[in-house]
Symmetry: C2
Subunit: 169 residues, 2 copies
């Protein structure tokens, strides 16, 4: 949660998975839908708010990837880097919603251009951290996949307990 | 979100689903694991905090079930009662976590006894609302299923876009 008690700059929801599959290109007349998939690891749903800047990202990524949220084979809680597990990063603008009457408003979400830039930089930082951790233990199957910003996020999730966490920055 | 800006009494995460399956009894020596399943509808992950009372529940349930979070066949946003869709309610104590260093603390979560009582009352209210809405449009397949409080929540989720929302009360 935000330490200052103010409105956050970014909101994430984290779920542990055994396998997760996300559509990255919908089907059209020429081709079938395209998907990315990870096996064991963590799904990060992420939404940036107005005022979020890239300064935020190193601490945010470090926190998300080093928190002990994942159950290892021995039942011990370890970070996704320690597991080591893969990441599926899902842009999720709906996370920024606030109820107004029976509808949802998204006035605090960052604009599309800033959102895409922050999302892309967030992914790059995650890739760097995950790849370094996986290389250090020789686990080449560990990977970072992500959804396409602005698209519908068609998701299939298989868990051993999603252990849903909320983290705001 | 809480309107007063204070610490919430309950936190929910909402995801839309095409199908969701949850383990309600783990396998043991005598029998296989047992599951509940819904088709189209909404998954509600719920966590109660210290200080939550049953007074909270009617407004909470009314808000969650009447918010326009679900995409109808025509693409219009409607509530889960209007869809009408089923509910899968998942007790999710991890949602109450706060990071302390690299670990998570759950000091603000309600105790087990209060939590179970609130969770059970929350389910009953949801059942009443969903069943009334389904009966009024003759949709007998609409249902409310839920996880077992205190158990590991082994979940399988198939979505057409989870549209993850956070709602606090």
């Amino acid at each position: 949660m935000t330490e200052k008690g103010g409105f956050p700059a970014a909101r994430t929801v984290l779920q542990q998975c055994l396998q997760a599959r996300l559509q990255v290109k919908p089907a059209d007349e020429q081709s079938e839908a395209e998907f990315v998939q990870i096996d064991r690891g963590m799904v990060i749903y992420v939404c940036f708010f107005k005022g979020a800047t890239e300064d935020l990202l190193p601490k945010m990524v470090s926190s998300l990837l080093n928190l002990r949220l994942c159950e290892s084979d021995s039942g011990k809680l370890v970070s996704v880097l320690e597991l080591p597990g893969s990441l599926l990063i899902v842009p999720q603008a709906t996370l920024g919603g606030r109820a107004k009457g029976r509808g949802m408003q998204y006035h605090n979400n960052t604009g599309k251009e800033d959102g895409l830039r922050l999302y892309s930089a967030f992914i790059s930082l995650c890739e760097r951290e995950v790849m370094a951790a996986a290389a250090s233990v020789g686990r080449a199957e560990v990977t970072v996949k992500h959804g396409t910003y602005g698209n519908r996020q068609v998701l299939k999730l298989d868990t051993n307990g999603p252990y849903t966490h909320l983290m705001e920055f």
